[in-house]
């Protein structure tokens, strides 16, 4: 019998117990979806939320965007980075702030976001090398891929501690141990939360399918890049979402990145130098 069944309610029906995104995010999103909306309106909405404004300015000034000069107004920051990047920046900021102050127990929140941000940066670095349009999509997919782990840590702290213990003893990959204990895993739970929040579908799919088995075929580029970025970041051990051992690399996903092995040192170097700065921009006061 799974722990979830012992508790009575399956994890997936407890998504409502999880934090919701700040109202500023919803207002900002309406403004962005409004065909008559302007960047001024959007900047005004964000400015009503001092914490989000400050965070957006820090991230806009971080190595993620590499702006030539420091910007100190939200409107200027948004007009420089553009609408598509703004959308992903607001969502990233909203998600991190929704979860920031919750206790996790086994894994620190900082370590979790360090892993996620670095995974996003690695994914974006690969997308840039592939000359894909709007690389920020890949940053966001990487950032959100393990969000289901947060749900499990929050909803089922005790069972997750046993899962981490079993994983430490190398009884198997953490997501497989989760399946044994919960009859679901963080990938499925994460996708359910993202759908509950109304996040665009490609990010939900990337979260849901980022653990590709050996013979699986990635269905979209977001999934493939997130998968490869996750392997890179777990190898480098920058932060952790609980996983301690490097997961399996799926060869189809690897081939979709169009990378060759000698590209990896550069990807690693860019990822490490960018991620350090972006992590502190997102997490520090």
């Amino acid at each position: 019998m799974s722990a979830a069944e012992i508790q009575g309610t399956p994890i997936l029906e407890r998504i409502d117990d999880l934090p919701s995104l700040p109202s500023t995010y919803h207002h900002a999103r309406e403004a962005m979806d409004d065909p008559n909306g302007s960047l001024e309106t959007l900047a005004q909405i964000i400015s009503t939320d001092p914490a989000m404004s400050a965070r957006i300015l820090r991230v806009a000034n971080s190595a993620l965007y590499g702006l030539p000069t420091r910007v100190d107004s939200v409107w200027r920051a948004l007009s420089i980075i553009g609408v598509a990047e703004t959308r992903s920046l607001i969502l990233a900021t909203a998600v991190i702030s929704a979860f920031k102050d919750l206790p996790l127990g086994a894994v620190s929140m900082r370590s979790f976001w360090e892993h996620s941000v670095t995974c996003g940066v690695a994914s974006r670095t690969i997308a840039r090398r592939m000359h894909l349009s709007s690389p920020e999509r890949f940053y966001l997919a990487g950032l959100l891929h393990d969000i289901g782990r947060l749900c499990l840590f929050i909803l089922e702290p005790t069972t997750m501690s046993s899962a981490l213990q079993a994983h430490r003893e190398r009884q198997g990959p953490l997501h497989e141990i989760e399946r044994q204990l919960f009859a679901t895993d963080h990938a499925v739970v994460g996708a359910a939360l993202l759908r509950h929040w109304g996040i665009p579908e490609p990010y939900c799919v990337a979260a849901e399918t980022h653990h590709l088995s050996q013979d699986a075929e990635p269905t979209c580029t977001e999934t493939a890049l997130t998968h490869v970025a996750d392997i890179i970041v777990n190898s480098l051990r920058i932060g952790t979402s609980g996983t301690r051992w490097v997961p399996l690399l799926n060869d189809s996903a690897w081939r979709m990145t169009e990378l060759v092995t000698r590209d990896l040192p550069d990807i690693v170097e860019t990822t490490i130098s960018t991620a350090r700065d972006v992590t502190s921009a997102f997490l520090e006061h």
Binding site: R170, G172, P173, Q214, V228, I231, I232, S235, L236, R237, R244, W245, V246, P247, L248, L249, D251, W254, L259, T261, R262, L264, P265, D266, V268, E269
Partner: protein, 102 residues
């Protein structure tokens, strides 16, 4: 071996010198990504490598700690597929980074 086939961690078999004969990298050096970039910028297309196998090179430097690091990395990669060239390359990058810090 051609420069594009060189991966960090390989062992240089012969000194690399500039046209005046001044050695730039000594034989026995473990090739790093920095070396590869430098070689590219110097216009050197080919260098002599001691062996294609993952380097026993650094072993001579401090065999105990290298062995310890490798054991740790072997465990860290044990649930992955280290026979995949990309995973092997990541392993080598991690080893190189760990050696730099020890």
């Amino acid at each position: 071996m051609k420069l594009e086939d060189i991966t960090p961690g390989m062992l240089l078999a012969k000194d690399v010198s500039d046209p005046n004969g001044t050695p730039l990298i000594r034989a026995g050096a473990i090739i790093t990504e920095r070396h590869v970039r430098a070689l590219k910028s110097w216009g050197i297309a080919e260098i002599a490598i001691q062996s294609d196998a993952p380097t026993p090179s650094a072993l001579t430097r401090d065999s105990a700690s290298v062995q310890e690091l490798k054991t740790m990395l072997d465990i860290q990669f044990s649930l992955s597929n280290p026979d995949h060239p990309a995973v092997r390359a990541l392993y080598e990058i991690c080893l190189e980074r760990a050696l730099k810090h020890c």
